[in-house]
């Protein structure tokens, strides 16, 4: 295939632990080379190539930058494409999910901005824990199932983070 893997594009070894600063620096260097602005004066063909290459560079960067997307990408590299939506058999986590959602609803009803700030910090801690656990097991074939479970938990918490932001926006009226 002509498309290099996202990690190779940034000359990195596939890994969940990434130095985001370093990733950002490399991204900027690469973007300099392929951005359409460099080809504003070039032939139509070169402009289209620049557009395509820039778009795939941006896509790669977005994927590696976000922990849930990075986790998903690593798993797909290691053991094939994963379906986006599946039924999760993870009763403990389902329980926790429901609690978190209820808490968020309460915060909305009470318009409790200070409470939202506390909730955000807790969410962050929970996310960091997930990242640690995932980093320890994703490349171990024996723990594949666990890794997938952790990745789905990350996705859920990511979605929750987005909902918190929407709540903040609603409360900001």
């Amino acid at each position: 295939m002509g498309i290099p893997c996202h990690f190779a594009l940034f000359e990195l070894q596939p890994s969940f632990r990434l130095d985001l600063e370093q990733l950002a620096t490399r991204y900027r260097e690469l973007a300099r080379g392929v951005h359409p602005d460099r080809f504003a004066d070039a032939s139509e063909r070169e402009q289209r190539l620049a557009l395509e290459q820039s778009a795939s560079l941006n896509e790669a960067y977005q994927t590696l930058k976000s922990p849930p997307k990075r986790a998903r990408y690593l798993l797909a590299m290691n053991g094939g494409e994963l379906p986006l939506e599946v039924t999760v058999h993870d009763p403990d986590f389902l329980m926790q999910q429901m609690q978190l959602r209820e808490e968020l609803e309460d915060l909305q009803d009470e318009a409790d901005l200070a409470g939202v700030a506390v909730f955000k910090r807790r969410l962050k801690v929970a996310q960091d824990e997930l990242y640690e656990s995932f980093a320890a097991c994703w490349d171990d074939a024996a723990q594949r199932e666990q890794a997938e479970r952790l990745m789905r938990r990350m996705q859920f918490l990511d979605k929750l983070t987005y909902e918190v932001r929407q709540l903040e926006e609603r409360l900001d009226d």
Binding site: L9, E11, T25, R26, R28, E29, L30, A31, R32, G33, V34, H35, P36, D37, R38, A40, D41, A42, S43, E44, R45, E46, L49, A50, L51, E52, Q53, S54, A55, S56, N58, E59, Y61, Q62, R165, E168, E169, D172, D173
Partner: protein, 620 residues
């Protein structure tokens, strides 16, 4: 023989020949054109030394008047004098009706859904009115700089949607300008500040113009301007402050709100004058007809408070979207004439906890930044190459799905260029066509989003429901403009469009305008087309020649090189003649035979960037 002639650099540009390019700020109230002169970016003055051109166009039966004199005629000839036309760009008739009594014009429908303003010169679309402003700026630039322009960077509010961007690009085309890039206004301002004041780190650009408000959060790192998030309101600006004061006058003077167009304009002029006076004075006498009263700054501040609050709310959202903390923002830059209002400055200072920067004239900073970018894009800084702008889309893009819901394909604040695909399937047995409805906005219901385009993918082979796999690909280019393609993966049936917004002009309308336009009326059309083809051909030849000099040895084998040389020779030969069609065909052929070369060069650039990085690491 061919090779010998190729060796002569006859077609390549002179090393010191500067390619003329300008930055244009096409504003709601005022417009400017700026260019780099002796290394300094500055706005270009007209014959009277004025740099600001009021965005006012007055139509007479036999000619068109643009600028200050047109603006002054607004209350005496309101129906033929168009002000603040930017507010109508990319809008539909229904949007315009919402603005309703604020606008004194007579609107008529056109072939498209775009509103046309009825004038003594006939119906004028907002695109044409904008083009009339751009033509004046183009002429000013060509006179001042003494030559034909290679192109222009035109600025747009960051929060402009696809339809508004497309309308702006159409206007530039109509004015005979080659658009090098549509650049977001706050990003342009950041460039001016970043290069001039050497700002680094997180910067917030608060841009309150005559009719639009933008807030952008950027990270500046060594010449790279990375927009993290943008937000705003395309219907919030100084015009609204004027309307608030006008409303206050109507109430205080007990006037009927039912004023004729001339009276309305008169009232707004009085309101605007009061607003401007209050920048320095604590109180101002406002009079209208026989009535007069004092307006204090305090009273004015409370009149505009809801609008100021709206802008601050957008600021907080942009900060949240950018994933940074308010305290991390190292500088706040003020852009746009309306940031002269003391209450606005004060409120922004409170919100960000620091005094905003106002060193560069807020009316000029956008054009100044745009000119810097234009100069780079025109290829004048090949070696420097320090400047890089990474911008985002302001509003999410998506598709209509079952139940009238919008499914997001690209979320807002995604870095452009971007390409993303989503797969869909058929929901009925034997279904052979699928409607693709492209939307822009943040809300879930499609009725709350802006409809950008609809098109149909036909010829899907009949299958059971759910068996077909239809991949819809969205691509947003560096101008922030969208194109969409749909493909059935099994059969390869394909349909694609460059999104022509529902509120845009139809191709027929554009063609007609080009024909009608004063600019082209006298031109011999064939000659013009030929000249354009010659320009394209020369541009390609120069590009290939330049590329060969740098990478020809390294990236091409002898045979490949010979093919390219032969095609170049052929094109150079044809350019001496006047067969436009042959030139066009040969330009295409040369472009095709250099495809692989271009691709290799681009890959090299990527590798070079990485190699450079490795070297640094070793040295550390």
């Amino acid at each position: 023989m061919a090779l010998l002639q190729i060796a002569e650099p006859g077609q390549s540009p002179q090393p010191h020949q500067r390619r003329l390019a300008v930055g244009i700020d096409l504003g709601t109230t005022n417009s400017l054109v700026a260019a780099l002169r002796s290394g300094l970016s500055e706005p270009l003055p007209d014959a009277d030394g004025q740099v600001i051109l009021p965005s006012a166009v007055r139509y007479h039966a036999d000619h068109t008047e643009v600028g200050e004199s047109a603006k002054r005629a607004a209350s005496t000839d309101p129906l033929n004098t168009v002000l603040s036309v930017k507010r109508l760009m990319g809008r539909g008739l229904s949007d315009v009706k919402q603005l309703g009594d604020q606008l004194p014009y007579r609107f008529v429908g056109g072939e498209s859904h775009m509103p046309f303003i009825d004038t003594v010169q006939g119906p004028k679309s907002p695109v044409e009115v904008s083009a009339d402003i751009l033509k004046v700026l183009r002429q000013r630039a060509e006179t001042t700089l003494g030559g034909e322009l290679v192109g222009a960077v035109i600025t747009v509010p960051a929060y402009f949607d696809d339809a508004q961007r497309q309308a702006t690009k159409d206007a530039a085309k109509l004015a005979g300008l080659n658009v090098l890039r549509l650049l977001n206004e706050p990003t342009a301002a950041a460039v001016a500040y970043g290069l001039d004041q050497h700002a680094e780190g997180l910067v917030a650009i608060y841009d309150l113009g005559g009719g639009t408000f933008d807030i952008s959060i950027l990270r500046l790192t060594g010449g790279v301007f990375e927009v993290l998030a943008t937000g705003g309101d395309t219907a919030l600006g100084g015009d609204d402050f004027d309307h608030a004061i006008a409303g206050w006058i109507i109430n205080s003077a007990g006037l009927s709100a039912d004023l004729d167009p001339g009276e309305q304009r008169h009232l707004l002029q009085a309101a605007c004058a009061a607003k401007e006076a209050l920048t320095d004075a604590a109180s101002v006498e406002v009079s209208y007809g026989n009535w007069s009263a004092q307006l204090t700054r305090e009273a004015f501040d409370s009149l505009i408070e809801p609008m100021v609050a709206r802008s601050l709310k957008a600021c907080r959202r942009a900060v949240r979207d950018s994933g940074v903390e308010l305290e991390d923002v190292a500088a706040v830059v003020m852009v746009g004439g309306s940031t002269r209002v003391p209450r606005v400055r004060e409120a922004v200072a409170e919100a960000f906890g620091r005094q905003p920067l106002t060193e560069i004239d807020p009316d000029q900073v956008v054009a100044i930044g745009a000119a810097i970018q234009a100069d780079t894009l025109a290829g004048n800084k090949r070696d420097g190459g320090e400047l890089l702008l990474l911008d985002v889309i302001p509003l999410s893009l998506g598709l209509e799905t079952m139940g009238g819901l919008m499914e997001k394909v690209i979320p807002r604040n995604t870095t452009i260029p971007v390409a993303r695909a989503q797969d869909f399937t058929t929901y009925k047995d034997g279904q052979t066509a699928m409607m693709i409805h492209v939307l822009q906005g943040e809300r879930e219901l499609i009725s709350d989003c802006r409809s950008l385009a609809r098109f149909e993918l036909r010829g899907i082979p009949a299958m059971v429901a759910g068996a077909a796999k239809i991949r819809v690909t969205f691509q947003v280019d560096a101008d922030g403009l969208l194109s969409v393609a749909a493909r059935e993966l099994g059969s390869g049936v394909e349909a694609s469009i460059q999104v022509k917004p529902s509120y845009g002009l139809t191709d027929g309308e554009i063609a007609k305008m080009l024909k009608d336009s004063f600019q082209y009326a006298g031109d011999d059309k064939v000659a013009r087309v030929l000249r354009e083809q010659q320009v394209d051909a020369r541009r390609l030849l120069e590009a290939v020649q330049g590329a060969l000099e740098v990478d020809g040895e390294r990236l091409l084998d002898a045979e490949e090189r010979m093919v390219i040389d032969l095609q170049m020779q052929e094109l150079a030969e044809l350019m001496k003649g006047s067969d436009g069609y042959a030139i066009e065909q040969q330009t295409k052929r040369l472009s095709q035979v250099t495809d692989a070369f271009a691709a290799r060069r681009m890959n090299q650039t990527v590798k070079a960037a990485l190699a450079g990085r490795n070297l640094n690491e070793i040295e550390e």
